[in-house]
Structure formats: C-alpha cells, structure tokens
C-alpha cells in the first residue's frame, strides 16, 4: 500500500487543546478532511498525551500515557496510522515511540502500567504517528491540492510558523531529514509547500522554528509576550500579512500575546494569525465559519473579505 493510500483513513488524535483553545483547529482539520475525501476516525476514549506537565515530573508516565493512545488505535481499532495535529501531542507520541524502541526501562514501565490499567501493551512500531501536515502532504500532495483549489489565496503573503516541537529533538523524527521530499528539521517547509499550492506567497521567515514562549505563559507572561511580539514584528518585517500556524499552543500564544503586547507594552502589530487548515479550507471553497475563523481570538473575517475569500 502506498503512503498516499495509507493516509486516506487514519486514527485521529485531537488531544486536549483541540477541545479547548484550539477548537478552531479541530473544526478546520475535520472540515478539510471531509472536503478532501480523507477519513478521520477519532481514537476511542483517548487520554492526555502527558503534555509538558506530566513529562516534567515523570517522563516515563508521559511515555505510558502516549503509548495508551497508540495502543487503543492499534489494538482496539485496528488502525496503523495515528494523526495528531497538535505539535505537543505529535511530539509526545513520537517521543514515546522512540523511548519504547530504545529504552528497556521505559518499555518495562509501560508494560507494567498497561497491565494494571487492563489494556494491551503498545509495542513499538505498531502504528505510525504523523502530523496533520504529513497527512495532507502525503495523502493529497501539492498537485492534488492545486486541482482542488476553488478560491486561490491569490498571493496572500504568509509567514509559516512551525514552533519548536514539530522538529525537535531531531532523533525522535527519523523520517525527517531523509533526503529529497522529506521534511527538514532545520528549515521545515511542508506548510510552506501546501499553502503555496493553495496560491499563497510565502515570505522568508527566519523565526519559523523559534520559541513562542508557550511554556512561560503562566509563570512569566511578560517573557512570553516579548517572545511573541518579536515573532510578530519579524513576520511583519518579512512582509507577511498572515502568520500560518500548525500548533494550538503557538497559535493561542500568538493571538493572546498580540493583544497583551498592546495592553502591557503599548505595541500593536497588525498581522493576522490563522491555522494552516483554515487557510487551506478557505482555498478549498469552504466558508470561513465552516473552518472556525470566527472562533479565532483575532478577527480575520474582514481580512478574508478584503481578499475576496469570504
């Protein structure tokens, strides 16, 4: 079976953020999946991936939590691909996969906890974890998208922001940096490729993998605001009208700290922030509401109207 066929039906792991602040990402991911004829089957009774909170206290518990999600997909749903649109979830599932393949102690802990919890132990390699970018890129591809675009983004200038967890640490993503066509950990480009196929003009954005300060948000809000402000200003200087995101934490951070920067530091940066799935959805002819543009904190409806996309 080709990757293209394999990704046509995947187990969907939305994760906690997509049920809360990242709701628009959930809505737009499902909407474009349906529009593109791709089947998303939500992982039954899924749990937290372990996020940063659990991982910080006990990384092996995080490995177990992530492995349970993969175990349900593999052993209870007979799926061989898990798609996680959230960078945090995606990262944690990949890390769990790596740990289970390379660390006997982690494997033993996972086995013990799985038995205690009463489900089959996940064995390394049972499923392949992919990101929403891999999903669209491989199942549809740029040519497939070009054929389906109804409302070209028509030269919309976009800074693609990937955040820090999509490519780091490199060793948990063996499929990246694997030659022509693969994703790059130093200069990721899958989002650039997809949005360009939808008619966007990507700007050269040097902070595409820089830290957004997501982990500082509650403990040191000013630091987060300064990091976000710097990202917004750099995107603006690069000529972008929109920052495209593929992580709910980064997205929420950029939106909230854009507002906070104005309130706290008196600095207003006029730039729109949208999930790449929202931009693709609009390009595929879906109404902005269908992809949750109205659920974003920053109002992009007027901007889309000006562009003739709403």
């Amino acid at each position: 079976m080709t990757t293209k066929d394999k990704y046509k039906k995947v187990a969907y792991y939305p994760g906690c953020a997509l049920e809360g602040t990242g709701h628009a990402y959930n809505r737009s991911t499902k909407a474009i999946g349906k529009e593109l004829g791709l089947d998303l089957v939500e992982v039954k009774n899924w749990n937290c991936c372990g996020a940063m909170e659990v991982k910080n206290i006990d990384p092996k518990i995080q490995t177990y939590l992530s492995s349970r999600v993969m175990s349900v997909a593999a052993n209870e749903m007979d799926m061989d691909v898990v798609m996680a649109p959230c960078n945090g979830c995606y990262h944690n599932l990949k890390k769990a996969e790596y740990d289970l393949a390379n660390d006997d102690e982690s494997a033993a802990v996972v086995d013990r906890l799985s038995k205690k919890a009463g489900h089959k132990t996940y064995e390394s390699g049972q499923v392949e974890t992919i990101h929403a970018l891999d999903w669209i890129k491989d199942a549809i591809g740029e040519d497939g998208l070009r054929e389906r675009v109804k409302n070209s983004l028509n030269g919309m200038k976009i800074a693609n922001y990937y955040g820090c967890m999509y490519t780091r640490p490199r060793h948990i993503f063996p499929e990246k940096d694997a030659g022509p066509g693969s994703e790059s950990t130093s200069k990721p480009h899958f989002m650039d490729d997809l949005l360009e196929a939808a008619g966007a003009e990507n700007v050269d954005f040097p902070l595409k993998t820089a830290c957004c300060g997501g982990a500082h948000t509650l403990s040191d809000s000013d630091m987060s605001t300064k990091l976000v402000l710097n990202i917004l200003k750099a995107a603006k200087l690069a000529g972008a009208e929109v920052i495209a995101t593929e992580c709910p934490t980064c997205h929420s951070g950029l939106e909230m700290h854009q507002i906070r920067a104005e309130k706290v530091f008196g600095e207003k940066v006029e730039i729109k922030i949208m999930y790449f799935t929202q931009l693709l959805g609009v390009a595929l002819g879906l109404k902005p509401k269908k992809v949750g543009v109205h659920e974003n904190i920053s109002d992009s409806m007027q901007f889309l109207k000006q562009k003739g996309l709403a």
Binding site: M52, K55, S186, P206, L207, C211, H216, L227, N230, L237
Partner: protein
Amino acid sequence: MRSLAKLEHALEAVTADPDLHAAADEILKVSEEVLEHWIVAKGDDPTNDTREGFRLLALHRQGAKGDPSFNACRETCREIAYHFNLVTLQPEHAETTDRLAMMKMISNHLYLFVSGKMQVAELGEFCCSSRPVRQATDVDAQLTKEA
C-alpha cells in the same frame, strides 16, 4: 562580559547608520555574549573556537552539550550568522537595512530565549529545562553565603 540587561540595551541601541558593518559586528558580539552567560551559568568557560567561521555557532554547540533543549535556539543562531553574511557581504543590496533590522530581531529572540531560560525555574522538560542551571546557581549562591 556585559550583564544581560546591558546586552539588551546595547542591542536596542544598534543602528545601521553610520557604519553598517560595525552594526552587524555589534549584533553578533551581543549574541555571543548572551550565549556566554548560559555557558558560564552552567559552570563552563566559553570557548573561543569557531564553527563554520562563527564563534557564535561554537558557543551554541558548547551550550547545548548535555542539554538538548538548548537546541531550541540552534536555528536562531544559524539565522544570525546567515544575516551577518547577508549584511556584510552584500552591503549595497537594496534590502540591507531590513536585513540588519531582521538580524537585530533574531538576536533579540536569542536574548529573550536564553534570559528566560535562566530566570524561570522548573518549566517543561523539553524547551525550558532551566532547573539544573537554577539549582546549580542556587547551590553556588548558598555556598557563597555560607562562606
């Protein structure tokens, strides 16, 4: 080595006028000193080696040794080096002023990232694992007090 606060002010003060090359030099120097702070906090001596012609890249490598989370600023350092080359090797380019402004922003990001890591304790294991450094400095401070 200037203090982090002084480095922030030094970065703010950089302008393209009158000497573009000197401005790029200063941004690069500030970026190096920011990394020196991290390395010194970890108890090491900052290297004078270079990688790919830049001490900045050697310092980053040194800072990330044994601490993979520090790689979250690897590309930031590489972008600073790249923009330094753009500004100094193509000074007549139409976008040189913007390139210098971008270099300044990237350097500012490095400053914010590193100073944040040094100030905030006990954050996520992946991108903000400043706890070991904090613990080390706390122990040092305690020992200094006791002495």
